[in-house]
Symmetry: C2
Subunit: 220 residues, 2 copies
DNA sequence: TAGATTGTTAATCGATTAACAATC
DNA sequence: TAGATTGTTAATCGATTAACAATC
């Protein structure tokens, strides 16, 4: 019945991927899976999967494996994505719009409830039913609606001030798309950075192996 | 003079963050830094930083530390982001547009040279100087221009086919924004997935600690 | 029942940290 | 020169893998 044992960071990092894979399996109509099969699918070892899951409880059954649906529900509980957190989005530029229009927040158990911007051209418009408010209404809105998460899509130079303003207004977590690193210990709430550039750089690094011009890939 | 020694995955994962931090330091006009100071800034240990960097060579100087500029250049070489790779973007929806308009490709040494879509409404338009071609021109274009990287922003159901088509046309790496996991060993080129949802879920997980409604966060 | 597969304990492997001689 | 800081070797710590009794 333990909620958390001693969950290492490495395990936590794998949880979203477990969740994603299991959702895909469920979509394919697969109702149960063994650690061995799942390992094959995810390029892990069966041992590791059993070890990881056992941090949170015994969800499997000997001789049978794991129920996909049950595991999904458990992972939603573990990840805390089942609680229908309420999110507001700051900065309705191209990226903000792309998120409002295309991103499936509900997949993560998050519900976007409002957006904010300063530009007259977007204030008052709606994206997929989400209304864009003038930024000056932020304080009043937060007091009334008590959102949990802020999706930060403002320009880099405005990001830090905005983050502090949000925390002051009761925001409990920041999903940060502005390309600025924020010190969590200063803000006092979790900040999850999305660094597109890290991802692209990792791709470039991994492409070096296949680079026809890179002949100096020798050891020593 | 070693190009690569035995670089573990953990080290590689930290490289983009080293690069980002050093660029920030350079922007602040800081010309040199010791492993101790850098460790403080990045929440690592000085030992780890020296260990990590020494995988690629001895870039520091006893009694002095590291030259920020020199380290940036070295990291660009190590990461392979200095080669000005050429990228094409597939799928000019909101996300594709957001990337074309806002993302600083040059930060990663990548140069976007063209975009492709099927919709008559966007074909022929330009975003920051990048022209949107009709998708049917892809083959001809690739043969002529030989792009290295594909930025995949097409809908999930088109992603896998498109990826295979791109590889057939000589693409050597895929930056994948479509929410579909691709088997690299099938494609034969590196694929770097951008999973927004993983990031948002991790935020939700980390917010659990501060959740006022979550009283059962006990050990055992 | 027999076969399969779990959860967990022990063994191995790898990554991080500490320490220190070399030297700028 | 003396103080500072590197690169590297050895020690510690943690994470992954292997093995197996328990049991569905």
């Amino acid at each position: 019945m333990a909620n958390t044992k001693n969950v290492s960071k490495a395990v936590v990092n794998r949880l979203p991927r477990y969740y994603r894979t299991l959702r895909e399996l469920a979509d394919q109509g697969i109702g149960r899976i063994s650690s061995k099969e799942l390992a094959l699918q995810m390029d892990l070892t069966a041992s590791q999967i059993r070890q990881d899951l056992s941090c949170f409880g015994g969800f499997g059954q000997q001789g049978y494996g794991y129920s996909v649906d049950k595991l999904i529900v458990e992972l939603e509980r573990i990840l805390g994505v089942a609680g229908s957190q309420r999110a507001i989005l700051l900065g309705v530029g191209n990226l903000g719009r792309a998120l409002l229009r295309n991103f499936d927040f509900s997949y993560c158990g998050v519900r976007p409830i409002a957006a904010f911007d300063t530009a007259q051209t977007v204030v008052g418009s709606d994206f997929r039913g989400i209304h864009v408010h003038a930024l000056q209404e932020l304080e009043e809105y937060c007091e009334r609606e008590r959102p949990d998460i802020a999706v930060l899509c403002v320009p880099a130079d405005k990001a830090m001030d905005m983050a502090q303003r949000l925390v002051k207004n009761g925001i409990r977590g920041i999903w940060n798309f502005s390309n600025v690193s924020m010190k969590e210990d200063v803000l006092g709430v979790p900040v999850q950075d999305v660094h597109f550039s890290d991802s692209l750089m990792t791709l470039c690094y991994r492409m070096k192996d296949t680079d026809p011009f890179d002949e100096i890939n020798e050891i020593e």
